[in-house]
Symmetry: C2
Subunit: 198 residues, 2 copies
DNA sequence: AATATATATTGCACCGAGTGCAGAAATTTC
DNA sequence: GAAATTTCTGCACTCGGTGCAATATATATT
């Protein structure tokens, strides 16, 4: 070891860069030719790697797009665990979620969403990814509020993800007219109303 | 037209029978060799058709399994439209759903569920299929109770499907110890509790 | 009953995603 | 600088899925 500054060797750095090149290449080609029409050969060429190497970075073609929305489960879970225990889970969830959506730019959200809609298999994988997120949120809820009844926490986790899904959906349908935060609020309000009658 | 009895000609009959043979062949082979290890050639051979013909009946291999749970959206929508208008949507949904789950046998539910879990792509398609069901339920709700606010109906549709999903999940995890109906009730109760506090 | 028309089945050639393997190239360790 | 590890690459292969054109079967027509 020559210097002791960074913890990152040449290997990790190159790996990170290559991965990014693949994502960039994928998004670029998907954007111009469409998802289905873009072959892995084309992506590999654009990213200056061999076709075989691609599979050392992604398990499949759709994972390029799925990786864009990865981390939702982790982030939501972390945000939940950061909430005070004495707050009710539903209120905590509301606060946690509103804190998350801020950083994303409307343009990129719309672009990614359009791409995902263009392919059935990607769409399917996206939903599957939501289910994993839901499971993570459930675990976080369960650990942070162990005294709450399990069925309620399952439902709450499912509501959390459904809210993200529905909000993104409406956001995309309205082409970004209302902010994600607004739509999330609307969803939380709707939940409160839903059971208040009869 | 020789006789006027049935509306079904030889064509429709054969088609129906062939489709059933394919499903039977698929389930049989999936059950013994696993989903991934079963090739379309094997299924075609078992169903006594050519590989090419398979694709005139199903768009893809996973559709054999997906077709098992198809119809959820239609059935739920129909059951909702059959509910009295003056009933609150949530109460109507509860009644409609409980009426639906009765006919299914626990064994077949568990068997199909196990198969679906064995393949990632099938799992993903299943979730995508749930989303379509959710959209159908939303449409039915919207048409049947046009005065209810849209966000609430979106949420309710999402809750309906989530309930099915979570109940099937628990049902499978508990290997059928509690009935689907019981689990659905539990989920509805949980929803009522969820917003009642603070 | 014979013929015309529509639909179903099949074989064939083809494409692209994904995998296993084994060797070459690059990085880290000593 | 050599040895050990990890990464990259090419090659051959399997399998799912599609387009096309020919054949076989069912239906409609006279």
């Amino acid at each position: 070891m020559t210097t002791m500054g960074d913890e990152e060797g040449v290997r990790e750095k190159k790996r990170r860069e290559t991965r990014q090149r693949i994502v960039d290449a994928g998004l670029k080609l998907f954007g111009t030719n469409g998802y289905e029409a873009t072959t892995l050969d084309a992506i590999a060429a654009e990213a200056a790697i061999s076709r075989r190497t691609f599979f050392h970075y992604f398990k499949s073609k759709d994972e390029i797009l799925i990786s864009m929305q990865a981390g939702l489960g982790e982030q939501l879970s972390a945000a939940l665990r950061a909430q005070p225990i004495d707050r009710r889970p539903l209120a905590a969830l509301r606060a946690a979620m509103l804190g998350l959506v801020a950083p994303y730019s409307p343009e990129s959200l719309l672009a990614i969403d359009r791409l995902m809609r263009s392919s059935e298999t990607v769409q399917a994988r996206k939903q599957a990814s939501y289910i994993r997120d839901e499971a993570m949120v459930f675990t976080a809820l369960r650990e942070h509020w162990p005294d709450e009844p399990e069925p309620q926490m399952r439902l709450l986790a499912s509501f959390a993800i459904a809210t993200v899904r529905l909000s993104l959906d409406t956001f995309s349908r309205e082409e970004g007219r209302r902010s994600l935060g607004t739509l999330l609020e609307e969803s939380f309000d709707a939940l409160e109303q839903l059971t208040r009658q009869t």
